[in-house]
Amino acid sequence: MFPVDITSSLLGGVMIGLSATVLLVTLGRVAGISGIVGSLIAGNKFGTELATRFPDGSARGGGFVMPHEVPNVGAPRIMTLVVAGLLVGIGDKNGQRLHERTWRMRNQSRVDSIASSHGYLMASAMLVAAFSRHFVLGGRP
């Protein structure tokens, strides 16, 4: 049975929730980092300062507490990372900032829509994760 250590997960979640709350009630933005960065790439002037400061702060905060050496055990090939990055970048844009759009649905109490969008995303991710680990990588954990 997997040893479930939930304290760090809950604490991290609380910090993420607080961050999202600060952004929402002050600047009216949803903490979707891809949307914030994506708006900068798209040349959206609104929130340009936020578009640079939020990722900067994230990297500084994360870098401060992150272990100096991140283990690369079972690391994917570079080409796999490139393909995955392209898919996530294009997918996020194609879904018009998925995270923020899902938040709008939640704000409008569109539970069916939230379930659908998260469902498609999670189902795709789970299918690929299971397939690549068990069938392509031969069951590597």
Binding site: S19, L23, L27, I33, R60, G89, Q96, E100, R104, Y120
Partner: protein, 151 residues
């Protein structure tokens, strides 16, 4: 003002991602791979975040206005359509392939060469999408600055 808020919320966000170990792709893939030795800890990250955020969202909706800004910046489209579904599927494929999604990847890029490769590729993907889809009506540039309409 937005400089400080952006930095503060970013610091909290990045620290939270690392504390929750969401920057570790192995942990994320352990959650996504339900056929293997399933690791449920990612679900507790969601529980923690929603527990804190949900009451403020309710308060925010009642209050109906922002503290430091005058506009709510969200995509206008809120319906399920082919574009959202295909976007979610593509995003999920990339996420499930290596275990990185945008936030954790940007944070992990500080100390991981692999996360840097992923992040740069993701930015190229976003840029390519904007370039290729510019001029297509359905994928026109997002409308921002929509006035706040409390529900």
């Amino acid at each position: 003002m937005s400089f400080l808020i952006g930095l503060l919320s970013g610091l909290l966000f990045g620290t939270g991602l690392v504390v929750a170990q969401m920057t570790d792709p192995a942990r994320v893939l352990g959650f996504l791979d339900v056929l293997g030795r399933w690791d449920p800890r990612l679900a507790f990250v969601m529980v923690g975040a929603i527990t804190v955020h949900a009451p403020f969202v309710a308060w925010f909706k009642r209050r109906g206005k922002l503290i430091a800004a005058v506009q709510l910046d969200l995509p206008n489209e809120s319906r399920i359509n082919r574009q959202l579904v295909s976007g979610a599927v593509l995003f999920g494929l990339g996420w499930g392939l290596v275990g990185y999604c945008p936030g954790p990847a940007i944070v992990a890029a500080v100390s991981s060469r692999l996360a840097t490769v992923f992040t740069l590729s993701m930015l190229v993907g976003m840029w390519l999408f904007d370039r290729l889809m510019a001029g297509h009506g359905r994928h026109s540039k997002l409308q921002s600055g929509e006035p706040l309409e409390p529900a």
